[in-house]
């Protein structure tokens, strides 16, 4: 050890002591400082009406206003001396969208004052009238709404922002310690990246709506890894998936019982062998199938994408044009049924009202294998109806169409993941793992959601229902309609798994999150390649 390194290690030790001393911080110390108007506060109602009145006075035929107050936190942890909090943010915004002369205008800022919201109302209307010069067809809003007021809070047991950093670090480090203590032939460690968000959103419109909602996001990512020589392998705690939960997710998950199997898998994965590129029958776990459905059906069925409104940003959709697709396009076999909703408890797109004040209903997207509907909003609608899919990441962004929660309907037989694996004569099992916060996760697609690939966190070969060897660097390639047509068997109701998907959309870009459920599924004759090999 060089002297420089000794000094450095010494510094680490002293800082670790500071860290330990800091654990005494009282939890909830910040809550007394919360001073923004909360849900239903008369001040917000007053500001909202001033904004809307200013927009109407300036000539808007319709206007809506959003206030968002967003707390965000991100924490990464490796060990007691190596961790950080790259994000500890509070963001307040107000945004006003107006319709004038048949075009949208938008204005937003951070300041919640009467003068400012009135200015934004006028400014947005000027923008709308100006933008109308660039339109021949006037925007018309579907689903005229009755006036409504209300409040809704996404149910969580423990608000993550009421939990001290000390407690969070303690829970995470205890888990890491448990991983490191497992008796394994090679060193095993853990790494955690955690994202929390709480958003209070108030919406009011010239239709008479005044609605306040509070949403939560919890996205934990815990990786267990090991290395030997130049080989390394890692797995994630798959039961930790992104959803609309609070801190109870960590305390109620009983993660310790997963550790022995995870460590066993990750050590065995060191001996993983390369894949022989070929077509294989594959069994995907429920989380992976959920992500496949989320992107290739959920995102692909966004009507604005289908119509080309997203062409210059994140792309279009293979489920186009509507007249050739709806009720006609057989995406998969009759057992493929997919519904959309914004009501699933704990799912990331769950709301009581969407960003236009519409109460979303459940609807079918794929029925008996056939595409039957698209996601819609009041301005991008079908048959004069919005499905309630409007959303905005914060009030600084204009509301846009986004994917609601997507649920693959389980099969009627009580088939489990293990049953599907047991039925595989020769094939591969693909377990997707948890997506790193901000990443697309194990399933990625092209700009039409048509072609994509699955990069499993855990992949193994099966012969006659038994695991024979772990596979390294495999990549499942798919073309969505062919993949779904090859759907051979799906899991039953008890095998349903919910996760969350984050997607970027729009210009300027916004991140939208939605919940998605899947069941374990077997797909036949899917091409699998070695992702480390070039052409």
């Amino acid at each position: 050890m060089t002297s420089t390194r000794r000094e450095f290690v010494g510094r680490l030790a002293s800082v670790a002591a500071v860290t330990a001393a800091g654990m005494a911080v009282r939890p909830g110390v910040l809550s007394a400082l919360d001073r923004y108007p909360r849900a239903g506060d008369p001040l917000l109602k007053d500001l909202a009406s001033k904004a809307l009145e200013a927009a109407k006075a300036a000539g808007a035929t319709y206007a809506d206003v959003r206030f968002t107050l967003t707390r965000s936190e991100e924490i990464w942890v490796q060990n007691p001396a190596m961790w950080g909090t790259p994000v500890n943010d509070e963001h307040a915004a107000v945004g006003i969208r107006t319709l004038a002369d048949g075009a949208w205008g938008f204005a937003a800022s951070n300041l919640w004052t009467a003068d400012e919201v009135a200015r934004l109302g006028r400014e947005a209307t000027v923008q709308a009238k100006t933008n109308a010069r660039g339109r021949k067809r006037k925007i018309e809003l579907a689903s005229a709404l009755p006036a409504s007021t209300g409040e809704w809070v996404s149910p969580v047991k423990r608000d993550p922002f009421s939990v001290s950093l000390a407690e969070k670090l303690d829970v995470i480090l205890t888990l890491h310690n448990a991983v490191e203590r497992v008796d394994a032939p090679v060193g095993v460690g853990a790494y955690t990246y955690l994202r929390h968000r709480r958003q209070e959103k108030t919406f009011a419109s010239t239709d008479g709506a005044f609605l306040t909602q509070t949403f939560y996001l919890s996205h934990p990512y815990v990786q267990v890894g090991c290395s030997e020589g130049r080989r390394w392998a890692s797995r994630t705690f798959d039961r930790l998936q992104p959803d609309a939960a609070g801190w109870e997710k960590w305390t109620e998950a009983s993660l310790a019982k997963d550790i022995p199997q995870l460590v066993e898998e990750v050590v065995a994965m060191l001996e993983g062998e390369p894949i022989d590129p070929d077509r294989y029958d594959i069994v995907c776990d429920g989380f992976t199938t959920a992500r496949l459905a989320g992107t290739t059906i959920g995102v692909a069925a966004e009507l604005d994408r289908v119509l080309g409104y997203e062409a210059n940003a994140t792309g279009t959709s293979y489920l186009a044009p509507p007249e050739e697709m709806l009720g006609k396009f057989a995406l998969g076999p009759a057992q493929l049924n997919v519904v959309a909703n914004r009501s699933q408890p704990g799912a990331l797109a769950t709301v009581k009202w969407d960003d236009e004040g519409v109460v979303p209903e459940e609807y079918a997207i794929v029925k008996n294998g056939v595409l039957v509907d698209y996601h819609t909003t009041r301005d991008i609608s079908r048959q004069g109806k919005s499905r309630g899919c409007s959303s905005s990441d914060t009030a600084r962004s204009i509301a846009q169409l986004s994917t609601p929660n997507i649920a693959m309907v389980p099969g009627s037989a009580d088939m489990s993941f293990e049953d599907l694996v047991a039925g595989l004569e020769r094939g591969l099992v693909v377990v997707g793992g948890t997506a790193y916060p901000g990443s697309s996760g194990p399933v990625t697609t092209d700009r039409q959601q048509l072609n994509g690939e699955i990069n499993g966190s855990l992949v193994y070969e099966v012969r006659n229902g038994k695991r024979t060897r772990f596979i390294r660097n495999s990549e499942v390639l798919f073309r969505a309609p062919e993949l779904w047509k090859g759907l051979h068997a799906i899991g039953g109701p008890r095998s349903q798994a919910w996760t969350g998907v984050s997607v970027w959309k729009g210009q300027p870009g916004q991140q939208h999150d939605f919940g998605v459920s899947g069941v374990p599924a077997r797909f036949n004759r899917v091409p699998v390649t070695d992702r480390s090999r070039q052409a």
């Binding site: 000094e7 990464w76 915004a93």
Partner: protein, 483 residues
């Protein structure tokens, strides 16, 4: 316009300003300084951004507006410990809340505090980052530009979708130790996608610049339209190894992951593409993850590839805040300077970025080497047309999208081609071909360079100048027939 002399002058909170001025930043610090508890210092890093945009699709404006958004990061430094939190609001209650959150955080300390010790004075470079012309592009101007430029697409019964954004940003770093710097900055970007009604052809073009006047929006619109027409009804060509001409946008799409990987600490830990000599893996490696966040510099016992040739010897990659083509703010969020750097010179790796705690503890230097991913790549003199004429058989590629890393040590990337791929045979473009999935590393591709064109500005989040490049043996692994 007074903005030229350093931004709007009035104090906050006021609302006819589009972004916070230098005086507003000073006033913010003065108020924040009074709100701290337990002595020590307050440092603020401010990014106050006004944007105006117009977005269109199917030849019609679909949305557009003006937004002001502040990002105010406050660091409390007390007895050598630092804690950071951020807010978007400038009122006393919000500042106080932010400071309390930062103070809660500082009690825990971490070994990698990049904020301490506080810098009390700093001399930064003075790049020219402001354009009055950009700041003057208002809603009316944006709508007018859109109307003029979708005309040709309408006339040819094609569908234009596009985006024009102008931004003005007040960037400030200020602390109670006496440091103050404020740089107003403008940005403009313009991009267009033209598709045919049958969705069998798609063309894209786009660029970013400081000064809106340097963006030739008419040429970009025409390029997208031309690519749409010429890319229509593509045929499938067998995947495999091809000589490819990567247009500048595609070069930047493939080079960007290399820019993201230029980290010294992981390299010296034996991780990633820039590690050399004996590799000593730590228990955890995070391919594709944030490379520094698992890094313990105490483990830095390996060697990096600094001093070794890593790319074709004609390639140099540099970044300089005062480069007139890619100017950028001369300080980082933590007030440390952005200095000119040659990452790669004549193909030889010269530098890898490192954070401040590494500079202090390992190099006995006060400053980190920051990398904000703005870069200039050297080029040659061969135009794309000349490259086509001298290609016996190959492909012309417009851009690469959904680029994703599959292997960290080799920087192997995958993704798809998009918005125009053409087959070249005997010096001529002979047909439009379907998109491919590629699997390629910038380390391989830019060691297989044949000829290069003149470097030009492209559309990336940070200022980027790269040439078109003809590359041998580019790996296209399968068809990805989306349009």
């Amino acid at each position: 316009m007074s903005i030229l002399q350093g931004g709007p002058k009035r104090l906050i909170p006021v609302r006819d300003e589009r972004f916070l001025s230098a005086d507003a930043c000073k006033e913010l610090l003065a108020r924040a300084a009074k709100l701290g508890r337990g002595g020590g210092d307050v440092q603020m890093s401010i990014r106050s951004r006004w944007t105006g945009n117009v977005r269109w699709a199917r030849n019609e404006i679909s949305s557009g507006g003006d937004t002001t958004d502040h990002f105010i990061e406050i660091t409390r430094v007390v007895r050598g410990a630092a804690g950071t939190a951020s807010t978007s609001r400038t009122d006393d209650a919000s500042l106080e809340n932010c400071i309390r959150r930062a103070e809660e955080r500082l009690r825990y300390g971490t070994p990698n505090d990049d904020a301490t010790p506080l810098r009390r004075a700093e001399t930064y470079l003075k790049p020219e980052l402001w354009s009055d012309a950009t700041f003057a592009v208002d809603a009316a101007a944006r709508a007018q530009i859109q109307q003029q430029l979708v005309g040709p697409a309408v006339a040819e019964q094609l569908l234009s979708a596009g985006y024009l954004e102008v931004a003005a940003i007040g960037n400030g770093v200020i602390n109670t130790g006496g440091l103050f710097a404020y740089v107003p900055e403008t940005r403009a970007e313009y991009s267009v996608t033209v598709r045919n009604a049958r969705a069998t052809g798609s063309g894209w073009a786009g660029v970013a610049a400081k000064d809106w006047r340097t963006i030739d929006a008419q040429r970009i619109s025409a390029t997208a339209l031309d690519k749409c027409k010429r890319s229509a009804d593509p045929v499938a060509v067998e995947p495999g190894r091809y000589t490819v001409i990567l247009e500048p946008q595609a070069v930047s799409d493939l080079m960007l992951p290399l820019m993201w990987s230029l980290w010294r600490v992981p390299a010296e830990m034996g991780q990633g593409p820039w590690a050399d000599g004996a590799r000593v893996p730590t228990p955890l490696m995070y391919p594709g993850g944030p490379p520094l966040e698992g890094a313990n510099p105490g483990d830095a016992i390996g060697m990096s590839k600094i001093g070794k040739r890593v790319l074709d010897s004609r390639i140099s990659i540099s970044a300089d805040p005062t480069d007139p083509d890619i100017p950028f703010v001369p300080f980082a969020w933590n007030s440390t300077p952005m200095r000119p750097v040659k990452w790669i010179e004549d193909g030889v790796l010269k530098e890898l970025s490192y954070p401040r705690f590494y500079a202090l503890s390992q190099l006995n230097k006060p400053d980190p080497l920051n990398n904000n991913y703005a870069f200039r790549m050297s080029g040659g003199t061969t135009s794309v047309d000349e490259m086509i004429k001298t290609t016996e058989r190959g492909l012309l590629i417009t851009r690469l999208v959904n680029v994703r890393q599959v292997d960290y040590p080799s920087l192997l990337q995958t993704g798809t081609t998009s918005d125009g791929v053409w087959l070249i045979e005997r010096g001529e473009i002979t047909k439009a071909v379907k998109n491919f999935r590629f699997r390629e590393s910038p380390l391989f591709a830019f060691n297989n360079v044949d000829v290069m064109g003149p470097p030009v500005r492209v559309l990336q989040q940070m200022p980027t100048v790269v040439p078109a490049v003809r590359v041998r043996d580019f790996s296209l692994t399968s068809l990805a027939d989306a349009v």
